[in-house]
Symmetry: C3
Subunit: 131 residues, 3 copies
């Protein structure tokens, strides 16, 4: 298992980690199989979405905040229940196909680390599973 | 990795792909492991849900539209930010157990390709991971 | 593939299954790879979230009920379309890293079986995928 460090700058943020993950695959010589990108934090998630237009990230973050507001009917004393709920909706991990050392993504797909209660420095675990 | 072609007919649609995926597993002689169904499009997702009553698909599509409407506080110029958000909520892929060449699903479960900005002809990537 | 039995007591409930899953991994002698936790029921899901404060579970269940109410614009005659929709949002499975027989979770992470239309006795399928 490998670990990447992800610094975040805002409370809610989507950070494109595609290049770092691709680099890690090459460094490890992984060839044909799948890679599990796993977030070990309970206010962080992994998603795959359009990466060409930064407005897509903005629209996702703003509309998730509308659906699951920071303040509301919450009892958890840390004040970040909205972040926990968003994590269950997006999921803590994504599995991606790797072929000949290449991360197989669609033309417009990029991989994002989502922080919903930052800013913080976060870890991403990367696990290779062979075909 | 194998590829299936999925034609869609409406803007938002859930298409039962269980039979095609099962056929592909048999054709490839895959035995015991897991199969990753992966959508390489940023307005498409994969989900697993009840397939016996078509009203379940209808209820899911209609209520996701209520939660994430087509028009709203969006800046992305293509006018399909609702579709991108739904994809992050459902996820671009599903991993399913395979035993003795059989896709292991619960009694009422079927596998659906979800298009949220169709109609289009889409690809589904299918990757075998051995146990 | 192994099977765990999960009894539930309420209509909507998150049950911490971390200890049972860890025990199963040890019993099977699984070492280094990934474990797929898969719910074969169409009103059940698997999620990973904060497990230290029970208010987090409560906040997630209550706020998912607000977003996807039990009564609404539903045609499915069984009256549990809300549960089906929540399953598509949380997902029917989670893949978790295993190293040296240990389930690799973050400090605050626990694994939960989510029932959205209980109480019922449910099954959880556990599939080992080697690295």
């Amino acid at each position: 298992m490998e670990t990447l460090q992800i610094p975040t700058r805002e409370r809610e943020e989507m950070i494109d980690i595609t290049t770092e993950v691709q680099k890690l695959i090459r460094q490890n010589g992984w060839g044909d199989g799948g890679v599990l990108l796993y977030c070990p934090h309970t206010t962080g998630a992994i998603t795959i979405n359009e990466g060409a237009d930064p407005d897509v990230k903005r629209d996702i973050v703003v509309n998730m905040r509308r659906l699951v507001p920071h303040q509301g009917d919450y009892r958890h004393a840390e004040g970040n229940s909205d972040a926990h709920l968003k994590v269950s909706m997006f999921g803590p991990s994504q599995m991606i196909i790797v072929e000949s050392g290449d991360l197989k993504l669609g033309t417009w797909q990029r991989v994002f680390f989502c922080e919903f209660d930052g800013p913080r420095t976060r870890k991403l675990w990367v696990k290779w599973l062979s075909a």
